[in-house]
Symmetry: C2
Subunit: 378 residues, 2 copies
């Protein structure tokens, strides 16, 4: 039991896991292929990772990098690293080796965890990463250990499942650093503090009607704004995380069916691949699938195809600098009876703030003056 002040408690997304492990200890928290972890087990694995990091001298203010697709270790890192006052650097696995090493160096990463498919991106020559003190191999596709360090389970085994005290004394402490894609120069590190991560995680949940029995499929990379903060939001609600190593429509449809997926986030390209998947023809979802999409505007045709199958699309927009999506097409009851085509056109727009975003202006980039809106969407 952490020490609490009477009128104040720090907002930290790590606390969501502590609460869900207490309330739903035997509920399935994480699914990955045949692996299944209950909330109690999820929390224990996080405590093992956190205490193993502490025993390697990682703590307050340090940075821990993960180069890993959407597998359970990546999710566990989102709790274990911020929990000990350190910052998680989730590296985009699509970057070049040069960019990855730039990020490892620039962030002063003290520990680096790499999935064995992506370990080649890390410059493992002796002395190449002088600041790195621990290397860990996440052996997911094979037993191969390309980096000079233990496997992830062996590393966890050096820790303890005893609850680790959340070592965060300031809600503005940095919880994660997300590097931009570097399209306009070298990647820049965006610092997410505990308060912002907490609030945005809840903010996303409010926009997509996530509830305690929702099941979330990890089609969106966790290295994108920490999975738009769903890494924490899903846990807050006591939902189930369904991990997904590779985004392929056949596997997505299989998991929707077998795991009872109710929510996913994805770029419009993923929706295109789903809509065009041969097995999707005439497909009807057993459970309404809430899809949050962002990036490019989804085409009305894709929206219509997906909604005919039983999905509900919510179009949002955001950027790394603001913790992920923050503007949305907020649905209105008077649109319910429009033809599907008309609805799809409205859904392809967005431009009003999230509930927890409070205010937003859309400005003309030339004049920097607010663009007149119809009060609902741009």
């Amino acid at each position: 039991m952490p020490e609490l002040k009477v009128n104040f408690d720090i907002l930290s997304p790590v606390k969501f896991l502590v609460r869900s492990a207490e309330v739903y200890p035997d509920k399935v928290a994480v699914v990955y292929g045949d692996e299944r972890y209950t909330y109690r087990q999820f929390y224990e694995r996080v405590d093992r990772l956190a205490s193993a990091l502490i025993s390697r001298g990682v703590g307050k203010g340090d940075k821990v990098a993960f180069i890993c697709p959407n597998t359970p270790p990546m999710l566990e890192a989102h709790y274990a690293v911020p929990m000990i006052g350190a910052a998680l650097v989730s590296v985009n696995i699509r970057l070049s080796a040069q960019e990855v090493n730039y990020i490892l160096d620039h962030s002063d990463a003290k520990a680096v965890f790499a999935d064995n498919e992506f370990a080649h991106l890390v410059n493992a020559r002796p002395g190449a990463l002088p600041k790195v003190e621990a290397l860990v191999n996440i052996c997911d596709v094979s037993a191969e250990k390309p980096l000079d360090g233990p496997s992830y389970p062996d590393f966890l085994a050096t820790g303890s499942s005893k609850p680790v005290t959340i070592d965060v004394d300031d809600e503005y402490r940095v919880a994660t650093i997300n590097y931009t894609s570097g399209t306009t120069g070298l990647p820049k590190g965006v610092m997410y503090h505990h308060r912002g991560a907490y609030l945005n995680a809840i903010g996303e949940m409010l926009e997509c009607n996530f509830i305690h029995d929702s099941v979330y499929l990890w089609t969106l990379p966790m290295f994108h704004c920490n999975g738009w903060c769903f890494t924490w939001g899903v846990t807050a609600m006591g939902g189930t995380h369904v991990c997904l190593r590779q985004v392929a429509p056949a596997e997505i449809f299989r998991l929707i069916e077998t795991e009872g997926v109710s929510h996913l986030c994805a770029a419009p390209t993923v929706l295109i691949s789903m809509a065009n998947y041969p097995g999707a023809r005439g497909y009807q979802m057993l459970r309404r699938l809430e899809i949050m999409t962002a990036g490019a505007p989804p085409s009305p045709t894709i929206i219509q195809t997906m909604e005919t199958m039983g999905a509900n699309i919510t179009h949002t927009y955001g950027l790394t600098e603001v913790f992920g999506p923050h503007s949305v097409c907020a649905w209105k009851a008077e649109w319910n009876d429009l033809p599907l085509e008309e609805k799809a056109k409205i859904k392809a727009r967005q431009g009003v703030p999230f509930i927890l975003t409070h205010y937003m202006d859309v400005v003309d980039p030339k004049t920097m003056q607010p663009v007149p809106r119809d009060g609902v969407t741009i």
Copy 2:
């Protein structure tokens, strides 16, 4: 547009109204009998009240008391008063005249608004309330103006519908003061700050699955912990407030039907009156009714009767000192298939923290040691 800092925005529940007025300007925000206010109108009325208060010299640090049942002015006060940096004192209308005047004096109320059914509770003799500078009559049951001041509409008319700047520079500024019932002595004023009100409002919404098209019936007094912060939470979600002057089962059932009510909060006694209402026999709700109840534990029989009609009961517990309910019976999927009687027994218990409550211990009052729990409910 208020001035914003790049990495920080004050958490204030007043901002929920600004956002919903922007996103849902033409949606019905408030219903009271034949009165209907859209979000745009609700916000305009709030701005009128706020600017009228400012013009009477009420501002930062001042207190404004309302002695009023659940009618629109009471709801408007929850935004207009905190918006100008003042604190709202929602007085329990069931208290004695002596207690009411004690609260008006003790809180240093600078303005007092009283519904004409309850104005007799205010000591209106000249000089009796030397700190009060403005008295306003809320003429709801009649045109009578018992207090030496204008009617509520006349008072609003002295203000402007132009957006009033939210004058809150610190999220720990007091937004409301809620006096306890005084069962253990004189009533004590519990101060709710903007941050706490904001977080608890969202916290309540997460526990009762409130979404944008939900319709909330005001069976719970707004003077109880600011209506368990639903005064702000319903607005945050863009839902509809259905005001209710007097709690009577016939009227409750009528409004459930005519307004499509989806949510209400109530003490178990209200549920008893609903369950025993002759018109409730064989009644089937058209829309699932989410009921949050707290105070005494509801009897399994009452829960069963209400759920047979189509309600879903969530049992919570809290107190004035913590912004309302904070512990809950968090439902688990494995209980779904239990006989209704068994379910009702589980629902009558509670004892795990809300999502936004983070931690909670239940202690034996004699030993102050945590009581062992089954991990879910006490």
